[in-house]
């Protein structure tokens, strides 16, 4: 399936979506879509048998500061059944950085979206576990943003011993377990 057929198939699956092809140097079909249609497109990409993009290879973001729209969220998808690759990109403005989560469609997106939130500060609406992934939980700022300094001295507070009573500790454990859906 070549790039045009793929875009046409996807357009037929989600008629309302605005799909815009983009030129690439590597042989991967690249499309831009608007961020409101990400959930519908994700479902169509995974569930339509003629597409069957059941494998989310990568989810990341790029900061094009000071250009506007500032961010791009990039989904790299693989269709194992048809041996296809697709790069889907979503433009995200600087003043309102959020996209709908796709972790319900591809469970692998859970940590990848947490990493993007952690390092770029792009929120994923409806994410089941929206915490930082790599940086300490009390970290200020989003390190991979272009306006974040490379050399920075900051003392994380995470090493301080947490003072809790045994009851509080147990209550926290239960709370933690409930929030994770068990």
């Amino acid at each position: 399936m070549d790039a045009d057929t793929l875009v046409a198939t996807l357009q037929a699956a989600v008629p309302d979506a605005q799909i815009e092809g983009a030129p690439t140097v590597d042989p991967q079909t690249t499309i831009y879509v608007s961020r409101d249609e990400v959930p519908a497109l994700a479902r169509a990409l995974r569930d339509r048998p003629e597409l069957a993009f059941d494998f989310l290879a990568e989810l990341t973001a790029v900061d094009y500061w000071p250009k506007e729209p500032r961010y791009e969220v990039v989904y790299v998808l693989v269709s194992l059944a048809h041996r296809l690759r697709l790069r889907m990109k979503v433009r995200v403005p600087a003043d309102d950085p959020h996209v709908a989560t796709v972790s319900g469609v591809w469970p692998a997106a859970n940590w990848l979206e947490r990493e993007v939130w952690d390092l770029f500060g792009i929120a994923f609406d409806g994410h089941p576990d929206p915490r930082r992934l790599l940086m300490p939980e009390d970290w200020q700022g989003y390190p991979l943003r272009k306006d974040y300094p490379v050399q920075i001295r900051m003392t994380p507070n995470a090493s301080e011993a947490l003072q809790v009573t045994e009851e509080e500790f147990r209550a926290n454990l239960m709370k933690d377990r409930l929030t994770r859906g068990r």
Partner: protein, 393 residues
């Protein structure tokens, strides 16, 4: 008999634990010896390499990416070079591609040997560790011969290789391959039908085919679960379609299947190595003839003004890469790996993102260990072969 009061116990495993392969922390809730919940915490090795690369020139990135997944250094730098070469639209000579295939496969054997040794040790077969590291030493010697550096050779360069193959390279590789086949049989004698090893690994840490796809598991973990995804077959690069090799798969998806897949992969890698070696001439072209990218030979730098200027420009300013983005996936030792590279047309990368197979394996870890025994946690962590440098980057 009166009811015995029982309660759930929380165990903090790691980040400093000998079997977590670095600094992985697991908070486990245990009911007796059964794992009720597991939450992996990562980030202890987060060094911000992706941010650092944005400050470096293109060639300076190579030593950094080699240190991400420190067990597959050559494979990392090769993946990075392929992506950048795609942006530069360079035609890479066939000899260079063949050498890269050979080095990538040797790196795969190297990584699998470290995995087999440490995994064997963790489930109680300490002698396997000593044997595996003995053979790995020969591979590190080959790296030393090649580049003067054993773990991170930085031998791959954008546009080709750093220098031509050293004298005695072919003989060293042939000597290794001749020795390694029978040694691999020895490892199998120690483990494949070992009753204790079977009891520790069969039916442990199972992940289904559907879950493996949903959690984007790649490489030996996915192939042990029956997903026959191998980048070398699905999206060939470096002429892998011209090599004769099999993609070993299993169906059970447990720790033992992963062991079988990796051992079979080492045999296939040996086959590829021999085929690649037959195609490589001992001396010849080792980089593209592009004066923007490849530095001139040293004797010309000492004798010609133009060559000196060219040398000076490459090492002071570097080269520029046309604006755009590229991602070339390769099959690393841990599965699909690659660098999503974005350039703004300058001599420094705008953004580099490593597709980290270990990160996704770590995410799926919870699924594999919940419901099992705490002793099996060790076997499962070993079997998914996570490299924390790749998880945290």
């Amino acid at each position: 008999m009166p009811d015995i009061k029982t309660e759930v116990m929380t165990v903090n495993m790691g980040p400093q634990h000998p079997s977590t392969h670095g600094v992985l922390r697991l908070v486990l809730e245990l009911d007796g010896e059964t794992v009720l919940t597991a939450s992996p915490t990562i980030g202890y090795l987060h060094t911000g390499i992706e941010k650092t690369t944005e400050q470096k020139k293109w060639q300076q990135v190579i030593p950094l990416v080699e240190r991400m997944d420190y067990l597959s250094a050559q494979s990392n730098s090769m993946a990075f070079c392929l992506s950048v070469e795609k942006l530069l639209a360079l035609e890479i000579p066939e000899r260079v591609s063949n050498i890269r295939v050979l080095l990538a496969e040797l790196q795969r054997i190297n990584s699998h040997l470290v995995w087999l040794g440490t995994h064997g040790m963790e489930v109680g077969a300490v002698s396997v560790m000593l044997y595996c590291f003995r053979e790995r030493e020969l591979l590190l010697n080959i790296n030393e011969l090649l580049a003067g550096f054993r773990l991170f050779p930085s031998y791959m360069r954008v546009g080709g290789l750093r220098e031509d193959l050293p004298r005695g390279f072919h003989a060293a590789v042939v000597a290794f391959l001749d020795r390694f086949g029978p040694k691999l049989d020895e490892y199998e004698d120690l483990l494949t039908k070992n009753e204790i090893y079977l009891k520790r690994t069969q039916g442990v840490g199972v992940i289904s085919k559907e879950a493996a796809v949903a959690y984007s598991l790649v490489g030996p973990i996915a192939r042990a679960a029956g997903v026959d995804y191998d980048v070398r077959r699905f999206f060939p690069y470096l002429g892998y379609e011209t090599y004769d090799f099999a993609v070993p798969t299993q169906t059970k998806g447990d720790v033992y299947s992963r062991y079988l897949v990796r051992v079979a992969e080492m045999r296939e890698s040996m086959k590829i190595c021999r085929q690649a070696l037959a195609r490589i001439t001992p001396t010849g072209i080792f980089a593209v003839a592009d004066p923007r990218i490849t530095p001139p030979p040293k004797d010309r730098v000492y004798t010609e003004m133009e060559a000196l200027i060219q040398h000076f420009l490459i090492y002071s300013q570097g080269f520029t890469v046309p604006a755009g983005e590229a991602y070339v996936p390769v099959e690393g030792p841990r599965g699909e790996h690659g660098f999503y590279v974005v350039s703004d047309g300058s001599n420094r990368p705008w953004r580099i993102k490593s597709r980290a197979p270990s990160l996704l394996a770590c995410q799926a870890l919870e699924r594999m260990i919940v419901g099992g025994l705490i002793a099996d946690v060790i076997a499962v962590i070993g079997s998914i072969d996570v490299v924390m440098g790749d998880v945290d980057r």
